[in-house]
Symmetry: none
Subunit: 165 residues, 4 copies
């Protein structure tokens, strides 16, 4: 292989760094399935209090589906909306409702919904943090009004922060 000189130096420097590094991996705190379940049950309980039937999705730190439940009589169309809300919240580490304020016509990230196979940018998706404040996943809720969805998702996310788990 015939590398340009400056590139060879780059590799040498990298090799040096690696030799002296303590070998620490990137540490991503990730939600466990017990935590995902806890968030799901807390959200479901809040939904039942509010007498609304919803879909609830939890994704992990990699934005991959971790847990899901569709309550009886909830909208079929909310399966995908709940999952996309959870993914969107983790993709950008943000309350999906906040993101939606930036995606309106004239907004700075207008129509970002076209990325990632479709985003949902109205309330109901909330990042899930651990007690140290690190984002470890996200929860998405769909089936009620947007205010109900946000309240239910928040209840789910808070069940982890609160350390009750």
């Amino acid at each position: 292989m015939d590398l340009p000189k400056h590139f060879k130096i780059g590799i040498a420097t990298l090799a040096l760094l690696l030799l002296t590094a303590k070998g620490q991996a990137q540490i991503a705190q990730d939600i466990t399935h017990d935590q995902a379940y806890t968030a799901l049950l807390a959200a479901k309980e809040k939904a039942e209090e509010s007498k609304v039937s919803v879909n609830i999705a939890v994704v992990d730190a990699g934005a991959n589906l971790k847990a899901f439940i569709r309550m009886d009589e909830s909208f079929l169309g909310s399966i995908d909306v709940a999952i996309k809300k959870a993914k969107t919240a983790r993709y950008f580490n943000i309350d999906t409702g906040k993101l939606g304020e930036l995606t309106q016509p004239g907004g700075i990230i207008y129509n970002i919904e076209h990325s990632n196979g479709g985003l949902i940018t109205f309330p109901g998706g909330i990042p899930i943090k651990n007690q140290e404040g690190q984002i470890i996943g996200a929860i998405g809720v769909s089936g009620g009004t947007i205010d109900e969805d946000r309240t239910i998702a928040t209840a789910g996310a808070n069940s982890i922060i609160d350390g009750s788990n």
Copy 2:
């Protein structure tokens, strides 16, 4: 598995709830193919009266395609629009035109169209109810003006409610 205390209680509570539940199955009323046909023919008749050529789709309670017809000379692009209108109407148990009022810029569910592989949120999709008022499917019409599409879809849906079948 070493579950946190809170979670164990959650499962115990769930188990208790399940034990005391009466084990009632969820009964979903579903459209029959004779009803789907009746709705299709009623819609087609209305379209012919209105001298407009349309695509007509009927989905069942699970939002799965049940019956479809494309009238001669109707738009090819309306095949998918009619099917998506029917699915959207069942996904959210709503007149697709009503849904569209909420998805405009600034609307509370702006850009929900990005979910479920693409929704159609202008008029022409209508839930189909049985005579007891239960939703058993939906009909979607595309090819005319949105007013024509809505009128034709409504004629199809009403043919079931009216109990002519």
Copy 3:
């Protein structure tokens, strides 16, 4: 509209059939979210016994996602495999492993996997029946060996048939 004579007779016959029909709706028994949860927990318990980490998905009678859990350390690629196994089992009311016997090269339905956005036709997907023997949904498991996946899925499905719920 100027219909050919044969077609007019067809419609007349259809109308007659509809008039004489007893107007019976099709009644689909559908899995409840409590049942879906029960199946999920039974499958998870079996997986823990077998010391294998899996993804478990439950779909309803309409093949729509009802409940899901990914156990810690289970494959990310198994999320979609588990969901597709559950859907495939309900799409054709069959153990996915049995279906796979027919889709091999030279088999009578070789390459059916290309339909429905992708099927999974090896063991791990099982229809869920109620105590009356009616199919009300399906369960899909992925993450272990195919034998483990099938055993775990069966444990989930049996928890409903057994009437423990």
Copy 4:
């Protein structure tokens, strides 16, 4: 552009033909919705005779969906299989079962199923010809055994050739 000599002659001949042609458009004989309906009903009648519940799809000369019916209790997974059988039959103007003989491992068009968003290459898809022998569309049937599906599809296609319509 440096064309080979025989190709230049081809163009010259073509130019001559165009000059003397009467400006006739390409004439594609296309199935009407009445014919599609006729084929659908003939297939449904045959299915009822055979006491099998199937999905039946008819596509036009452009391989676009023209008519569809799912009989009660037929497999949900057969919706897409029936449509893909009809499309496949028209894409290559062939009985889908015949195509499948060529797509087996070692076959001359092995794995062509990966094209066109997914083909189905086992029996049940049949081109529909008019009385002049021109292909005007295709019919696809799914839900029975492959022999039943082929027989039912053939009954549908024959109802047009036979000129009963």
